[in-house]
Symmetry: C2
Subunit: 258 residues, 2 copies
Amino acid sequence: MSKKPLILVTNDDGISAPGIRTLIEVMKDLGDVVVVAPDSPQSGMGHAITINSTLHLERVVIDSGKQPEYSCSGTPADCVKLAVNEILDRRPDLCVSGINHGSNSSINVIYSGTMSAALEAGIEGIPAIGFSLLNYNYNADFKASKPFVKQIVKNVLKNGLPKDVVLNVNIPNLKRSQIKGVKICRQARANWEEEFDKRKTPQGKDYYWLTGKFVNLDKGEDTDEWALENGYVSVVPVQFDLTAHHCIQQLNTWNFND
Amino acid sequence: MSKKPLILVTNDDGISAPGIRTLIEVMKDLGDVVVVAPDSPQSGMGHAITINSTLHLERVVIDSGKQPEYSCSGTPADCVKLAVNEILDRRPDLCVSGINHGSNSSINVIYSGTMSAALEAGIEGIPAIGFSLLNYNYNADFKASKPFVKQIVKNVLKNGLPKDVVLNVNIPNLKRSQIKGVKICRQARANWEEEFDKRKTPQGKDYYWLTGKFVNLDKGEDTDEWALENGYVSVVPVQFDLTAHHCIQQLNTWNFND
């Protein structure tokens, strides 16, 4: 049996996206790779799971590598669940998700299919990392990302990750020589100012497209947004305990018995 | 113009579900109500948003109340975005989501469409609460929930909520006389042990249904699971800054330059 780490690779742009092909290529140097990824793009799926519908898996061959690959009809979180429970014959040592075509920094972590796969693995106790490049194009150039992805994964394989924590890694859309290094950050407080594009169907009924402008409300120099704007790869440790522990005392002063 | 608070009501079980009808009924005593909710069930949608498809809104009349109601083709998070940006003529003073048919305690917060609506409102700076009853049946009895929903909402309207925090409220499936009161809690560390139900299509191909068993790994008496098991309504303050701040120092000792 192989002594190499078993690495599960997934994403949310779909199994044939250039981002995941790059991630697979880098991971093959570091371990035994199995790919389980959505059969179609799942961006913006958040932490959706498929509970009222069936799930389908298909063994596929996308490139010439020897890694087993499975295309899945479900969401990124479904892919991780199916991989761990139905496909892999041992627990993976690591789950990596991405490389996403587009940013998942700041508040985007909460809408991100890429990060939902990493969080799902984390919930199951598997060290996990989501990677994203700040370039939405299908033909984005992932070359400069490779050494950073490799270095971060090597650290995780060597050091492990703190309990119940996964990493959210975002990579600026720059040349290798322009990237200044890696920065550990906190999530910036930002949001989307929605602007719905309201149109009419040929039958005259209103409908909407969701568009919007990303607004960073946080000027802190310890945030992922600052790091990315200043040429760094951002690494945010992310937890799935959403409790606002600092508020518990205050809420205990409320009166629920009137 | 009305001096009453403007309350946006949504859910993830769909606009005609008994849970949201109960919530509307209670909210009408406390403010001016507008309902924007999915036209079909959206359970397990996590924080999904609709970015690659169109969104449709329809003005509907479900019961005899005077509250305006809109049925939306999108996810719970889409409903909040559309309500705030396209429907309401002023910012709501509160957004309430639910009452969900089924628990959103513990790790379920991350898969929950109910809570994604509350979180979306929170991200937009609107005080928000998600309510869930621990009964998955369509015909669940929401009577005992009403006084607790009302009391919690009254507290939020009076005190506001801490910045960037929303509430996740779960209600045990008990009679009014059996419920001991309200407890402020932290999210229990739990997960789902998946068991996929593997079947064959009539054509002989494998497919899967996601099933699973909820496993509480956390024996703490300050958790939502403990409160619910012991007859209390659980209130967890929930934040959307997912940064694991306690890990930043440790990760800063890693070596990214080998």
